[in-house]
C-alpha cells in the first residue's frame, strides 16, 4: 500500500494544563474515508484542531503526504491543501454566501464548473447566494461550511460532525455530498456520530477513548460487531438508527 495521505504518530496535545491527546497514532489512507469515532469528549475535535494547527502538538509527528506539518502555522497547512469543516461550522455570518465561498477559494477565483456542481449538491446555496450567511438555517449553514471546503480540490478533508443536529432529510443531503466527494477519490477524515452515515461512508475506522486511539480497523468490521461497539463506545451503534 502507498504512503497514507495523513499520518499521526505519537501526537500529544495539551490545552492549558490538561493533557488532552496522549499519544495519538492513526493513518488516513489516500482516496479513502477514515471515520474518527468515540464517545463525547475523547479528543476527536482536538485531533482535528491539532492537525489544522489550531492547537500545537507538544510532541509527535503529523505527516501530510510525507511532510511534517506539526510545526507549521495554520494558513500554511491550509495552503498545502487541507479543507476543514469545524464542529461549529465557522461560517462568516456577516458575509454573504457568495463572499464566504470567495474566501474559501483561496488559491484563485471561483471555478464555475465546480460551483455548478456544488449548487447541484446543495441547491439552497444557489437560492441564497447573495444573502447573508447569518440568515441561513442551521442545515444550510452546514451545507455552506462543507461547500467551502469542497470549493477547491483539496488533498485532505477534515470534517467534524457534519450532520450534528440536522433533520433526517438534510442528513441524507450531507451524506450524498460526502459520497460524491468520496467517489471523486478524495481523502477524508470524518468525525460522525450518526452511525448509519458512518457505516455507509467509512472505509476504515479509528476509535478514540480518553485521548488515545483504542481501535483501528475496517469500518465494516466494526459495523458488524455490536459487542465491539459496546466495548469501544459504550453503545451499540445500532441504537443510533
Amino acid at each position: 500500500m502507498s504512503d497514507p495521505m495523513l499520518r499521526l504518530s505519537g501526537v500529544y496535545t495539551d490545552i492549558a494544563q490538561y493533557h488532552i491527546l496522549q499519544g495519538v497514532n492513526f493513518d488516513v489512507p489516500r482516496g479513502q474515508v477514515t471515520m474518527l469515532l468515540g464517545r463525547n469528549g475523547v479528543g476527536k475535535t482536538t485531533s482535528l484542531r491539532t492537525i489544522m494547527g489550531h492547537w500545537r502538538a507538544r510532541a509527535g509527528q503529523i505527516l501530510l503526504d510525507g511532510q511534517d506539518i506539526a510545526a507549521l502555522p495554520t494558513p500554511a497547512i491550509a495552503r498545502l491543501g487541507v479543507g476543514y469543516v469545524p464542529e461549529n461550522m465557522g461560517i462568516f455570518s456577516d458575509l454573504t454566501v457568495e463572499e464566504n465561498m470567495i474566501l474559501a477559494a483561496s488559491s484563485g477565483p471561483l471555478d464555475r464548473t465546480r460551483l455548478d456542481w456544488l449548487f447541484s449538491v446543495f441547491p439552497p446555496l444557489q437560492t441564497f447566494w447573495k444573502g447573508h450567511a447569518g440568515n441561513l438555517s442551521g442545515g444550510q449553514k452546514q451545507m455552506l461550511s462543507i461547500a467551502r471546503a469542497m470549493v477547491e480540490e483539496r488533498r485532505l478533508y477534515l470534517i467534524d460532525e457534519p450532520t450534528k443536529g440536522l433533520a433526517p432529510a438534510i442528513v441524507s443531503t450531507m451524506a450524498g455530498a460526502l459520497r460524491q466527494l468520496k467517489d471523486q477519490g478524495a481523502s477524508i477524515l470524518l468525525v460522525e456520530q450518526n452511525f448509519s452515515v458512518a457505516r455507509a461512508l467509512g472505509d476504515s475506522a479509528v476509535v478514540m477513548d480518553d485521548g488515545r486511539v483504542v481501535w483501528t480497523g475496517a469500518m465494516a468490521e466494526l459495523a458488524g460487531d455490536a459487542a465491539l461497539q459496546e466495548r469501544l463506545m459504550g453503545l451499540s451503534m445500532e441504537a443510533g438508527h
Binding site: 489544522m52 495554520t74 494558513p75 455570518s93 456577516d94 474566501l103 447569518g134
Partner: protein, 343 residues
C-alpha cells in the same frame, strides 16, 4: 444564476420595528439634527452648528476608525492610539510651516497642494511608527488585555516625550492656509470653509473604506477576521499580516486625522492625541467595537451633539457625550452595530 429553490421561500411582512431595526443607528443622525432644529432658535445658527458638528464628527471618525478595526480583528486594546494623532499633527504642521510660501499664497490649488504634502508626510511617518509600535509594543502582549493597556499607555508616554524632545514643550500655533480661512455664507448661516473641506474629506474616506471592506478580497478577509480569525486562517490567510496592515493603515489614518484636527484647532500639543482619545473611546464603544460603520455613525452623533449642546448649554457640553454613551449602551449594550463574534 437563477434556479428555483426546491421549496418556495415566502416573504412575510415583518413588523415595522423589525424592518426598521437595522436602520435605527443611521436614523439617529437625522433624529439628533431634528433635536437641534427644535431647540436651537435660529435656523442659521442651526446650520452653522450642524456643519461644524459634522466636520468634528468626520475628523473623529478618521482618527477612530483604525482603533475599532484593530480591536475587532485581534482583540487588541490600543491605549496608545492617540499618539499617532499627535505625531501626525506635528509632522504635518511642520511641513506646512516649511511650505509657508504655498500656504500663504492666495491660491486654493497651492494651498491644497501644501496640505496634500503635509498629509502624505504625516501618514507616512505615522504608518512607519505604527508598524514599529505593533512589532515592539503590541505583538508581545497579544491576548492579554491588562498588559495591553499598561504597555500601550507606556508607549504613548514615551512617544509623547519624544515629540517634546524633537519639537520642544511649547504648543505650536498655526494659521490655516489662506484660501481656507474664513467662511462662506449660505442661507444666512456662516460656514467655515475648512469645516466644509473636512466634511468632504471625511465622507470620501468613509466611502473608500466602506468600498474596500465590502467589495475587495482584503476587505472580506478583514470582516471575516473580525468575526472568526481562526477560520480565516484555516482557509489559508495569514491573519497576522492582515492585522499588521490594518494597524499600519489605522495609524496612518490617525496621523491624517491629527493634521486635520491640528488645522481645525489651529494649535497642536504633544498631548492633543491623548486628550481626544476620550471622544474616540466613546465613539468606538457606542459604534460597536470592530464596526467601521458604527464608528462613523457614532462619530457624527458625538460631533453633532457636542456642538448643539455647547451652544445651548455650554456647561453640559462635556457630559453630554457621556450621557449619549450611557443611553446607547442601555439600549444596545454591544454598541449600535454589534459585531458578531464566533465563540
Amino acid at each position: 444564476m437563477t434556479a428555483a429553490p426546491d421549496h418556495t421561500p415566502t416573504m412575510s411582512r415583518a413588523g415595522l420595528a423589525e424592518r426598521l431595526g437595522p436602520y435605527i443607528p443611521v436614523l439617529l443622525i437625522p433624529a439628533i439634527m431634528a433635536f437641534g432644529l427644535i431647540f436651537i432658535p435660529s435656523m442659521s445658527s442651526w446650520l452653522t452648528l450642524t456643519v461644524s458638528g459634522l466636520a468634528m464628527g468626520m475628523m473623529i471618525f478618521i482618527m477612530a476608525s483604525g482603533m475599532t478595526l484593530v480591536f475587532g480583528l485581534m482583540d487588541v486594546i490600543n491605549f496608545g492610539h492617540g499618539v499617532f494623532i499627535s505625531v501626525g499633527a506635528f509632522v504635518g504642521i511642520s511641513i506646512l510651516l516649511v511650505l509657508g510660501h504655498m500656504t500663504e499664497a492666495p491660491s486654493l490649488a497651492l494651498n491644497l497642494a501644501a496640505i496634500l504634502a503635509a498629509v502624505l508626510a504625516a501618514m507616512a511617518a505615522t504608518g512607519v511608527l505604527g508598524w514599529a509600535f505593533e512589532r515592539v509594543i503590541v505583538k508581545p502582549v497579544y491576548g492579554a488585555h491588562l498588559k495591553q493597556i499598561l504597555v500601550t499607555m507606556g508607549g504613548l508616554i514615551v512617544v509623547e516625550q519624544l515629540i517634546i524632545v524633537l519639537w520642544g514643550p511649547e504648543e505650536i500655533y498655526i494659521l490655516r492656509p489662506e484660501a481656507l480661512r474664513g467662511a462662506i455664507t449660505f442661507a444666512g448661516a456662516a460656514m467655515e470653509k475648512y469645516r466644509l473641506l473636512a466634511v468632504g474629506i471625511g465622507a470620501v474616506l468613509f466611502l473608500v473604506m466602506r468600498y474596500t471592506l465590502r467589495r475587495t478580497k482584503i476587505g472580506l478577509i478583514v470582516r471575516a477576521g473580525v468575526e472568526n480569525g481562526e477560520m480565516v486562517e484555516a482557509l489559508g490567510y495569514r491573519l497576522r499580516l492582515v492585522f499588521v496592515g490594518v494597524f499600519i493603515a489605522g495609524s496612518a489614518l490617525a496621523g491624517l486625522g491629527g493634521v486635520m484636527w491640528g488645522l481645525y484647532q489651529e494649535v497642536i500639543t504633544a498631548h492633543m492625541g491623548q486628550q481626544i482619545m476620550i471622544l474616540i473611546f466613546i465613539v468606538v464603544i457606542i459604534g460597536g467595537l470592530g464596526s467601521v460603520e458604527g464608528c462613523f455613525i457614532g462619530a457624527l452623533l458625538v460631533g453633532l451633539l457636542q456642538n448643539y449642546i455647547a451652544f445651548l448649554e455650554p456647561k453640559l457640553a462635556l457630559i453630554s457625550n457621556i450621557g449619549l454613551m450611557v443611553a446607547i449602551l442601555m439600549w444596545r449594550p454591544q454598541g449600535m452595530i454589534p459585531v458578531v463574534k464566533a465563540k
